[in-house]
Amino acid sequence: DAGITQSPRHKVTETGTPVTLRCHQTENHRYMYWYRQDPGHGLRLIHYSYGVKDTDKGEVSDGYSVSRSKTEDFLLTLESATSSQTSVYFCAISGGRNTEAFFGQGTRLTVV
């Protein structure tokens, strides 16, 4: 299995609080991604990174920010969580832009 660890695996937080999800990889892959999965929408790309300090927006980036200060870590931050951000969040990695991607185990976030 690809070495991808997401933390925390489950989190319940209150509306308006900041939340940071962490993705850690041991594969030294260049690309890292954050997706969210919602019923009726499938998986959608939030943000991605193509190198240290190099990030870009995906399809559903509003309300989220990311940072990548080391190759192995990609952080997703919800500055002020809202109920619409209740979702399952997946991190993924790939060696190149169009190469095989591998997913972490997911983080279930509930905003109450």
Partner: protein, 109 residues
Amino acid sequence: GIQVEQSPPDLILQEGANSTLRCNFSDSVNNLQWFHQNPWGQLINLFYIPSGTKQNGRLSATTVATERYSLLYISSSQTTDSGVYFCAYSGGGADGLTFGKGTHLIIQP
């Protein structure tokens, strides 16, 4: 963006049956992957198959890039095959993977 359609959306089979899942896309893609999301939510890589045919045990996949479709074959189904099967592509100017809506497969004992 490129449209991707998966069919059928739902499939219920008895253990031991064979099945074919289909993924159609509206334009050329650079990469195509098949995933299995098990009942615990984990996304498992099945195939990375931009073109051609691959086999892994009871599963095989074929992508015909020129005709813009991919097929996933499951033979001799087992209850552990239950879950949602996604195809996902990269390309068409979009970054990351774009997922189809999935096929929800239930294998009954």
